[in-house]
């Protein structure tokens, strides 16, 4: 039987929105299998994506800059 998925498992089905490579996770704070604070790092395009309050900000970097600047 398939085991119950945790929120950490869900974070595995992801890729860098900018270059589509795999992301690595640096966990800073977690609670009950959920990553609350951390950074997702793309080794290929060197972009970083923050996880804050349990929400990963995976807007593509160029566009994110477009909106914020």
């Amino acid at each position: 039987m398939e085991r119950i998925k945790t929120k950490k498992d869900i974070l595995e089905i992801l890729c860098c929105p900018t270059c589509k490579s795999d992301l690595e996770i640096e966990i800073k704070k977690e609670e009950k299998d959920e990553i609350i604070t951390g950074i997702l790092i793309c080794k290929k395009c060197k972009n970083n994506y923050k996880i804050e309050y349990g929400i990963p900000n995976l807007l593509p970097k160029k566009e994110k800059n477009d909106f914020n600047q």
């Binding site: 119950i4 998925k5 869900i10 900018t18 795999d22 994506y49 929400i55 807007l59 566009e63």
Partner: protein
């Protein structure tokens, strides 16, 4: 990104941020959210699952069309406050998962807040752009999307991305507004019409062509012309198209 596309995203983001913050639909006139949900195919039970997440912004019920199985991995494009994601979460159970992607921060925050409040363990919301999905290739069983793709400036890119992330036997269920008659240039540029799911909508034939160009085959499941009676759509020759896409 060209200037015009950037502006469309800005208009959409601002408009939906406002909706998320004030809870409620900007443009539905006399109907309340529950009436809207009923009119587009949600059962009373489904509405009750996530009434706080129901902002009356859909134009169909893609979860019902998708016939979700326990354990399925589902991606919700433009998940908003999470209404469809939460209904889907109940259907796929603890062994399944739902990933909601939305570019509007206030919507994602609201969805996340509701997920915490009601203890959804199998739902994750990501701030992201449906034209550039932060989702691994061939990882998703079912993609759903409800009245969102019309808002995206580059619809071909959205469908190509959905195609990329779907498993080879995966399927996509879309409910979206399509036009049956072309708009004027002025209407195309009208901010309110863009945010209201009209200004960015394509002609039905054009929309289906784009789906094919992205690599999908499709079945039209249902075409709801009654939706044009809703206040925000009055005066426009359009319909809500429900379509099943497969690789």
């Amino acid at each position: 990104m060209i200037m015009e596309e950037k502006n469309i995203k800005k208009i959409v983001k601002e408009s939906y941020s406002e909706i998320a913050r004030k809870k409620g639909c900007c443009c539905c006139g006399n109907f309340d959210e529950e009436e809207i949900a009923k009119s587009i195919g949600y059962s009373k039970e489904e509405i009750n699952i996530a009434s706080e997440a129901n902002l009356g912004l859909g134009c169909g019920n893609p979860v019902a069309l998708a016939n979700l199985k326990k354990g399925a991995i589902v991606l919700d494009l433009g998940s908003g406050a999470g209404f469809d994601s939460f209904i889907a979460a109940k259907k796929v159970g603890d062994t399944g998962k739902i990933i909601g992607v939305d570019m509007t921060e206030d919507m994602i925050n609201k969805a996340k807040e509701l997920a915490n409040k009601y203890g959804y363990k199998n739902v994750e919301f990501r701030l992201g752009d449906i034209e550039n999905l932060p989702v691994e290739s061939e990882s998703i069983d079912i993609v759903i999307s409800n009245c969102v793709i019309n808002l995206a400036p580059d619809k071909l890119k959205v469908f190509k991305e959905a195609y990329r992330v779907l498993k080879p036997d995966g399927k996509m269920y879309v409910s979206d507004i399509v036009l049956l008659e072309e708009l004027t240039q002025e209407q195309r540029k009208n901010d309110e019409l863009i945010a209201g799911c009209v200004g960015g909508a394509l002609l039905k034939e054009e929309y289906l062509k784009i789906i094919q160009n992205a690599g999908f085959s499709y079945n039209i499941l249902y075409e709801d012309k009654e939706i044009s009676k809703r206040r925000q759509y009055q005066g426009f020759n359009l319909e809500s198209l429900k379509v099943e896409l497969y690789k």
